[in-house]
């Protein structure tokens, strides 16, 4: 070798700092998470994402942050502005279930007590009535007047039991206590 054009010439002996390796391991267990390392940063996911202009961190960047153990992903606008349109998931040439991973990240964030109220409200409404959106008495009357059949009544005992088993109930109670 006659000349070196830089001082960094080999990875030998170099360690790359992973911010929180445990976090990466947790993410790998999410639906779709086992394929994290298959991401080769082609940015195809970002190219088709409808909210690219509305977010400061793009979805392909999230994918790499996950490998680097950056828990900060849970506080990026990307995961909360994601519309779950599944375009990234359909297009990923590596077959990574990107949208499913994002959904899993949202779940993790709620476990940490972060995340927007909107989904929490949906969940509370489900525990109240079985449905995320409750039809008002006014509209129920309107339906009756039109001869539409009565709306189904959810079986609340069953819904509540499921909420207990899946941890949703505890999660909402913890939020309430905060």
């Amino acid at each position: 070798m006659t000349k070196s054009w830089g001082t960094f010439t080999s990875f030998k002996g170099t360690t790359i700092e992973i911010a929180a390796p445990d976090f990466t391991e947790v993410v790998k267990k999410l639906t779709g998470g086992k394929d994290l390392t298959a991401c080769f940063q082609c940015t195809k996911c970002t190219a088709g994402c409808p909210v690219t202009e509305k977010v400061s961190i793009q979805v392909h960047e999230i994918m790499r942050m996950l490998l680097l153990g950056m828990k900060e992903v849970l506080e990026t606008d990307m995961i909360w502005r994601c519309t779950s349109c599944y375009t990234c998931q359909e297009r990923c040439p590596q077959g990574i279930d990107v949208t499913d991973i994002l959904i899993g990240l949202k779940n993790l964030a709620y476990e940490d007590g972060i995340g927007p109220d909107a989904y929490r409200e949906n969940a509370k409404s489900v525990l109240e009535s079985g449905f995320a959106y409750q039809t008002s008495g006014f509209r129920r009357k309107k339906r009756d007047a039109k001869g539409l059949p009565a709306l189904p009544e959810a079986n609340m005992a069953e819904v509540e039991k499921l909420a207990e088993l899946t941890g949703l109930k505890a999660l909402l109670e913890e939020d309430e206590a905060k």
Binding site: P50, T83, K106, D117, A118, E121, G130, Y133, N155, E158
Partner: protein, 300 residues
């Protein structure tokens, strides 16, 4: 699976919550069209939310709720039809996952067992658009068109969850779907092609950030107008809610007005089948479809 003919026309009807909450016109028109087509919709007792609105907060609960709804239909011995793409997305996807992934099935069945239920995997879940195409068929539908809407140029909004994730929805290629074009042409209308036909309405995040659906609505309206469409059709109450009721808010900051009627597809089909507009709840749309009705008046 072979099915007898009567079963093909009888479905467990999963209404969901957005339709009764804000889009009763969609239910009215859908029920009316089904009546005309001889499709029997059997209401489902004791169902709950499809699960989609809480997927972000707890995926297991979302899967359990969807699975519970499916189990109710299994007990009825009927396939599910739904007119909501969100519900179709959640229920069809869950049905697929539960049938194919034993790990998830065992986990969710463990929960269901505690409420005395079990997912068996004996039924299918379909969006209404698929029932039209797969169970009735274009040829048969064509024979029922009494008033071809030849005076109309109609644009179609596909929406996301009726097609994606494709691995579970197993419908058409989400990158190049054709079913809505076929359904529009079936009515005799010209299918107005435009930029961004498959773009998301943004409705899923309306509670988190209204800016996203509003900017999606604005883009869509401009493209649909450029294509010279007289109306847009949707096949989902949430997409409809975004696109019909937010036009003013979306356009105002940019001094744009759209005034684009957004019809539920069964309303368009119903008109072509000769069902009177009063029976299709057209008067309940936010952006009135008067000009559309005027254009087809006297057509036969």
């Amino acid at each position: 699976m072979t099915k007898n003919r009567t079963r093909e026309k009888r479905f467990a009807f999963f209404l969901g919550c957005v339709t009764p909450f804000r889009e009763v016109s969609y239910e009215t028109a859908s029920r009316r069209v089904c009546e005309e087509l001889g499709i029997e919709l059997v209401d489902m007792d004791g169902v709950n939310c499809c699960g989609l609105p809480i997927e972000a907060i707890n995926r297991d609960m979302a899967l359990s709720m969807a699975a519970r709804n499916i189990v109710i239909a299994e007990e009825m011995g009927l396939d599910i039809v739904t007119i909501c793409s969100g519900c179709a997305g959640a229920l069809t996807k869950t049905n697929g996952i539960m049938k194919e992934n034993s790990e998830v099935r065992n986990q969710i069945n463990k929960y269901l067992k505690k409420i005395g239920r079990e997912f068996k995997g004996t039924i299918e879940v379909k969006h209404f658009a698929r029932v039209l195409l797969e169970d009735i068929g274009i040829e048969k539908l064509r024979k029922l068109i009494k008033h071809p809407l030849t005076a109309l140029r109609i644009a179609g909004h596909y929406g996301c969850h009726v097609l994606k994730p494709a691995a579970h929805m197993k419908f058409e290629n989400p990158e190049d779907p054709t079913f809505l074009h076929e359904l529009i042409e079936l009515t005799g209308a010209t299918d107005a092609r435009y930029e961004g036909e498959k773009d998301c309405c943004g409705g899923m995040v309306v509670g988190v950030d209204t800016d996203i659906p509003l900017s999606q609505v604005r883009k869509k309206m401009n493209h649909v107008k450029e294509a010279g469409a007289q109306a847009l059709v949707t096949i989902c109450p949430s997409c409809h809610l975004m696109l019909d009721s937010n036009q003013e808010r979306a356009g105002k900051p940019f001094d744009e007005t759209y005034n684009m009627p957004v019809l539920h597809y069964p309303q368009l089909l119903g008109l072509a089948m000769g069902i009177p507009p009063e029976e299709l709840a057209l008067d309940e749309l936010k952006v009135k479809a008067d000009e559309v009705l005027l254009a087809i008046k006297g057509l036969s």
